[in-house]
């Protein structure tokens, strides 16, 4: 038997005793199919709409249909809410709602909770028909207590059954009500949210869900002896909230591209799902191709004959697109390639985060294939980088890559509502006659740039080829011509680099340690660096957005720090393991490229645990690197 936290009566005046906190991390975990994600997303949306900073991360089970009540089945969502802007998923959770007592173990495996975490557990298992389950339940509760969690047993099922026949459907809204009370959220906004998410359903369904919501709220108000408030810092800024994949989809729309040719693959696919809904209404179309090779081939064909097209994929898809990516660079076809990275190698960890595609994207193709690679660090950048990529692709007549990852893809974050600009949208393609004396590859000697003839342009006829070719797009095996055309293709990227500014330093310009990051770790790194700086540690960070070519000025920045290291979510050999020597150690991906580029002894911390890096972990790495306890 477990003594759970006693449930006491609450004083009637709401909010009067609510403890004011700066932020909290909440998790809702359940078997899959119990609506935890919908509950959490609603909770996040309500909070965001009140003006709080939020960040959500989905908790995805390992299996599509894991056994019920298993640690492998932990499905749900984490929501970090704060008074200020939240930039990452944070450290351990402060409060957990668990629909059974087994799923929290999936998260405990991932070190998601700390001593003192409040755990609100469905209590129906205590009286389950199966003795086995009853025992599992009470064992777990003992164990949770031993781990120092504050456990509360909540009669969720029981309360829901007072309103609906099948508590499985609807319990999530009851939980939402409870959370709205606990965090002193607006009841009106909660109701509005429910009406919105069920807007396609019958009134009966909407009403029963609103009833459940109120029931959860009321029950909590009557029975819980604690309440929090996370006050809002007022701002006039208009905000939007969305996931990284939604931001990518809206970026495609905003770029004016009209063809997205893709093949489904986790975690990239959901970008196409939103796009599919909104694209056709705005003059765009999704083509779900028969495979990734055909997807990029189709995109290249569409780009060649029209506006720049986009293909969206993840690691295994990037692998399959390798040959066509080489062709696109060689034949100078503008193209946007979005890679929402997942855990690798091979099929790897499809639903988990990794920043493991950098080297493959940089160097995957045989021969010299220079490219422009952008890496979004925030959900907001997912939106803006697609627009930028389309422009660069056309200006530099080349494929442009946008890297995202699972963290960004499935996370939710508010950001300032972008002010739409007309020049985001691709203009209609040029169909005017081609100037007679201009060749199809009229490379500018200095910049390597040239204008492309588009089918329909009278006089622009030529045959695109992946073979070595001259300015007339004629196949050429003349040694000097291949040397020259290779060099001119390369110059485009040197030219592009000249337009870039050095990265901005987060912190002082000199110090003991410089952290270099890229991609979705931005928030966690900056939070950790901030904490370290507060402790007086001489650490700064930079976060790269341009992975190829790099922003200039890295040498100058690096030389002001005693040590430089990257923090990444991908594989590197552990330096402390004696098995790896300095001549064999494999570095994490950005570190490796920075070493070659700057000749600075760039060290790295990285792992392939498939989890977002928490600020605390990064703080530990910083201290460890500097020998601070």
């Amino acid at each position: 038997m477990v003594d759970s936290v006693e449930v006491k009566e609450m004083p009637p005046e709401q909010n009067s005793k609510a403890v004011v906190i700066g932020e909290h991390i909440v998790e809702i975990v359940s078997d899959s199919g119990e609506g935890a994600q919908k509950c959490g997303q609603s909770f996040a949306a309500i909070s965001a709409k009140m003006g709080n900073g939020v960040w959500t991360v989905e908790i995805i089970p390992a299996e599509i249909q894991p056994p019920a009540r298993s640690r492998a089945g932990a499905s749900g969502i984490r929501i970090r809410i704060g008074s200020k802007k939240i930039t990452n998923t944070g450290n351990e959770a402060d409060l957990v709602v668990a629909l059974n007592e087994q799923v929290p173990y999936g998260r405990i495996d991932q070190k998601a909770y700390h001593e003192g975490t409040i755990m609100l557990i469905e209590n129906k298992w205590r009286t389950d028909d199966s003795e086995y389950i009853r025992n599992q339940y009470s064992d777990a509760l003992v164990d949770f207590k031993n781990r120092g969690y504050k456990v509360l047993e909540i009669p969720m099922e029981e309360e829901c059954l007072k309103i609906v026949k099948n508590a499985r459907k609807g319990k999530n809204m009851w939980v939402l009500g409870m959370l709205v009370f606990i965090y002193s959220r607006s009841i009106e906004k909660g109701e509005a949210q429910i009406r919105n998410i069920f807007r396609k359903k019958s009134d009966a369904i909407i009403n029963s869900n609103i009833q459940l919501f109120h029931s959860g709220y009321d029950w909590a108000q009557e029975n819980l002896d604690f309440q929090f408030d996370i006050p809002v810092i007022e701002s006039d800024e208009e905000l939007v909230v969305m996931s990284g994949n939604e931001a990518l989809a809206m970026g495609v729309l905003a770029s004016g591209m009209e063809v997205c040719s893709m093949y489904p693959i986790t975690p990239a696919t959901s970008a196409s799902h939103l796009l599919a809904e909104i694209f056709s209404k705005s003059g765009g179309l999704i083509h779900q191709a028969e495979d990734e090779i055909a997807a990029i081939g189709f995109a290249i064909g569409a780009s060649y004959a029209g506006k720049t097209a986009v293909t969206i994929t993840s690691g295994p898809g990037i692998a399959l697109k390798t040959e066509f990516l080489g062709l696109a660079t060689m034949a100078e076809i503008p193209l946007v390639v979005i890679d929402v990275q997942r855990g690798g190698p091979s099929t790897g960890l499809p639903t988990k985060v990794e920043q493991g595609d950098l080297l493959a994207v940089l160097y995957g193709q045989p021969g010299a294939v220079p490219k422009i690679i952008l890496a979004a660090a925030t959900i907001e950048e997912c939106f803006h980088f697609v627009i930028l990529a389309r422009k660069l692709a056309e200006a530099f007549r080349t494929p442009v890559y946008v890297l995202s990852d699972t963290n960004l893809a499935t996370g939710q974050q508010p950001f300032p509502r972008p002010k739409i600009k007309k020049d985001w949208f691709a203009p209609p393609i040029d169909q005017s006659p081609w100037k007679e004396d201009v060749k199809p590859y009229q490379w500018d000697e200095k910049t390597g740039l040239s204008k492309r003839p588009i089918p329909g342009q009278a006089g622009g006829q030529h045959t695109v080829t992946g073979l070595a070719h001259n300015r007339n797009s004629q196949v050429s095996y003349i040694p000097e011509e291949n040397q020259e055309s290779s060099e001119l293709r390369s110059r485009k990227f040197a030219s592009f680099q000249k337009t870039l500014n050095p990265p901005i330093i987060n912190g002082k310009e000199k110090g003991d340690l410089l952290i270099v990051g890229w991609g979705s770790t931005l928030g966690a790194i900056e939070e950790a660096v901030g904490l370290a700086q507060k402790e007086g540690i001489q650490v700064s960070s930079i976060h790269l957005r341009f992975m190829s070519p790099f922003q200039p000025g890295l040498d100058d920045i690096f030389k002001n720090f005693k040590q430089v290291m990257t923090i990444e979510i991908n594989y590197s050999d552990n330096k402390d393991n004696p098995q790896f020597t300095s001549s064999s150690r494999r570095y994490s991906q950005l570190a490796w490229v920075l070493r070659a580029r700057t000749l600075v002894d760039v060290d790295c911390y990285s792992n392939v645990e498939g989890q977002p890096l928490s600020p605390n972990r990064i703080l530990g790495v910083i201290k460890n690197k500097l020998g601070i306890k």
Partner: protein
């Protein structure tokens, strides 16, 4: 209806094009190579149809045959081995005003390109496809192709190949939404011309199987087929591909075949002793993916802005 070219050709230039206007450079195929005949007949067709070279795109893969676009003074896309179809489909998707031709070889189409081929048949986009089947890999110098007959001695099968060849016509006829399947041979230019023309006129994916001689690496093809009058059969039908009486006379054998009869077409295609020239199958009502592609062209930036704005509203806080 969208997809109908006639809506969009209003800006056709008034210039009259000659065959030379469609030709570029000297075709670098071996003397006696069947590809020359295909090139000539295609150029002739473009002239007859007065296609605007600037609005015509030839897409190919890699192989001797796939060099074809380089010899056309139109737009061309000489891409990757086996990948002509996806590129061609991408080109056509949003460009109903372009005439798209695909040139592919038996290795390019039936071996490495098989997956894309099957799906291109199903998409049924309006384009004219010529499979130049010499039953061998020409460019890489004599390796078997999936269309090589059993017993073919090649550099990778010195003891002869052992598995029956893919029959491109049969395979195409097995794929749903196939809409035009015809056969011709390089040594009968007049028949080839009519076949390409019928393919071009068909609104959909016109698959033309061209028996193509390669005197360098696949001598037997020419010897066996081009010379044996008993093998070649001419398919006659009022809805089929009609050739002049003179040409029809050159066929010793004729038969009547209704190109709407899919089962009959499949039966003919199965015959391993006879070769049937002309139209196996045509379905003018098969759904076309290029019509879908052209279904929402021409949105203004303002319209797009409005959709984006509405979407932001949905995500607004």
């Amino acid at each position: 209806m969208y997809g109908l070219k006639s809506d969009l050709v209003c800006d056709l230039p008034s210039k009259h094009f000659s065959v030379e206007d469609y030709s570029k450079g000297v075709a670098r195929w071996c003397p006696g190579c069947g590809d020359h005949a295909v090139l000539n007949n295609t150029q002739k067709l473009l002239k007859e149809k007065q296609l605007d070279p600037a609005k015509t795109v030839f897409v190919s893969g890699i192989g001797c045959s796939s060099r074809f676009p380089h010899y056309m003074d139109t737009y061309g896309f000489h891409g990757l081995h086996g990948r002509a179809f996806p590129v061609a489909c991408g080109v056509k998707f949003r460009r109903p005003d372009l005439d798209v031709f695909v040139i592919t070889g038996d290795g390019d189409c039936c071996s490495i390109g098989a997956g894309a081929w099957i799906h291109a048949i199903r998409y049924n986009m309006n384009m004219t496809v010529m499979l130049l089947n010499n039953e061998i890999y020409g460019l890489t110098k004599k390796q078997i192709s999936p269309t090589s007959r059993i017993g073919t001695v090649s550099n990778t099968t010195p003891e002869g190949s052992i598995i029956p060849p893919i029959n491109p016509i049969q395979t195409t006829l097995g794929v749903s939404n196939a809409s035009f399947v015809a056969q011709t041979a390089d040594w009968n230019p007049a028949h080839m011309y009519e076949t390409i023309k019928a393919g071009f006129e068909h609104k959909g994916f016109s698959f033309i199987h061209v028996i193509q001689r390669c005197p360098i690496f696949q001598l037997s093809l020419g010897k066996e087929l081009a010379t044996n009058k008993d093998v070649m059969h001419y398919m006659e039908h009022e809805d089929g591909i009609t050739v002049s009486e003179d040409i029809a006379k050159t066929f010793k054998h004729k038969l009547s075949h209704d190109p709407t009869d899919l089962s009959a077409a499949r039966k003919l295609a199965m015959d391993t002793d006879k070769v049937f020239m002309g139209l196996f199958y045509r379905d003018e009502n098969a759904p076309r993916y290029d019509e879908y592609g052209a279904s929402n062209l021409g949105y203004t930036i303002e319209q797009k802005e409005a959709v984006l704005d509405a979407e932001f509203d949905k995500h607004a806080i």
